[in-house]
Amino acid sequence: MQNKLNVKDLINIGLFTILMFLFIFIGGMIGFIPILMPIVPFVAGFLTGPVDMLFASKVKKRGMLVINQFIIALVFVAMGHGIWTILFALVGALIGEIVISRYNYSKIKNARLAFSLMLMISFFGNWVPLFFARDQYIEQLLQTGYGEEYTQKLNSILPFWSIIPIMLLGFLGVYLGSTLGIKLLKKHFVRAKLIEV
């Protein structure tokens, strides 16, 4: 009973997957303005923080993160992000699982760290084509109708070395969002006896 997922958990996973995806998507919408593109992981991570913390406190079984990230990655692939998304999402999810399953899933600060690491890697998966196959990606952008100006701006805002700061910002975003989430949890949900931290 302690470690196998049952139907109730799967239903909760479905719910939180869709919430997480929604917030990541909203954060990603900001990327339409090229100047704001580098902080997309930060914003997306910040928005998903509270959802993640609730997720971690509702479901405490092995495998919850893998399913979560796999489904989100599938949706991103269907939206046109490239197949590396799935790979990085699975890697991130595995790392997240390892971190979150220490202390038997009970400490929420551990969960915060796990989500930060996991989302940092998964967000990176969305951006792999941009950094590693730059010319092809630019070609693709031009072909699917982004204008010349957008592409050039994008190219100049994201040089190769910026990958590390962006990932770190992603980590920071999820961390801060999760801190906010923990406070929200303690303030509202625990009092309403819906969950226990």
């Binding site: 799967l10 509270p50 269907a78 072909q143 109708g145 204008g147 010349e148 957008y150 906010l180 819906l194």
Partner: protein, 221 residues
């Protein structure tokens, strides 16, 4: 063998990846919607696509500055995101849940993936409805979006927390109803639906493969 059954329902979303600037590719979802009698959506969508193509061809490379961003947004949205989303909407509208579950199980996806996916479809509308209701409830209390726009944290708190409470309660109820219906992991499930390949599916498959062919040709030719 019957692994590809589910693609007849899900393949619409694949279409979005293969975007050459081809008008027919975008128009396909709308034709399908026309067939399933959703005339209003069909015409709205078709007009958007027409507009976006025109903008993209003639105006996108010439305007600069803010106007270019606006046009870019519109054209990008219509040509890139919208066909896929519309296809997804069509899929959701015409595919009943039992069909979808049957096909996903035939694909031999593990239960741990099938159940969340089906639950997601159900929760999507729940989330939208609940959010609307919460906004109305907050309006009655004087906490409108306009007033809270400059206090984003408070806005978050007043919208998000009630939404989550509502959703947690809903998910508890869904879980109880699922267990009452006898849903369990690894259990053999009987199903009303009898989805199988038919001639139309082969035809649509052929169409998709042609699209894929165009895409590959466009990239590597």
């Amino acid at each position: 063998m019957s692994a590809t059954l589910s693609f007849t329902l899900l393949m619409g979303n694949l279409q979005q990846r293969y975007l050459i600037v081809a008008f027919t590719a975008s128009a396909l979802p709308y034709l399908l919607m026309f067939c399933s009698k959703q005339y209003k959506d069909c015409f709205k969508g078709l007009s958007f696509v027409l507009l976006a193509t025109v903008i993209q061809k003639y105006y996108l490379y010439e305007t600069k500055g803010f106007l270019s961003f606006f046009f870019l947004f519109l054209a990008m949205l219509s040509l890139r995101l919208l066909p896929g989303l519309m296809m997804g909407k069509y899929t959701l509208a015409t595919t009943s849940m039992s069909d979808l579950v049957y096909c996903l199980k035939k694909l031999r996806l593990p239960d741990q993936v099938v159940i969340p996916i089906t639950v997601m479809a159900r929760f999507f509308y729940t989330v939208k409805e609940d959010y609307g209701q919460i906004k109305d409830a907050m309006y009655l209390n004087g906490l409108t979006t306009r007033r809270l726009l400059f206090k984003p944290l408070k806005l978050f708190e007043y919208r998000f927390v009630p939404l989550l409470m509502c959703l947690i309660r809903t998910s508890n109820e869904v879980a109880i109803s699922a267990m009452t219906r006898g849903m369990s992991i690894g259990g053999e499930k009987s199903s009303i639906s009898n989805a199988h390949f038919s001639l139309i599916d082969i035809f649509l498959f052929g169409l998709m493969f042609t699209l894929i062919g165009f895409f590959i040709k466009g990239k590597y030719a």
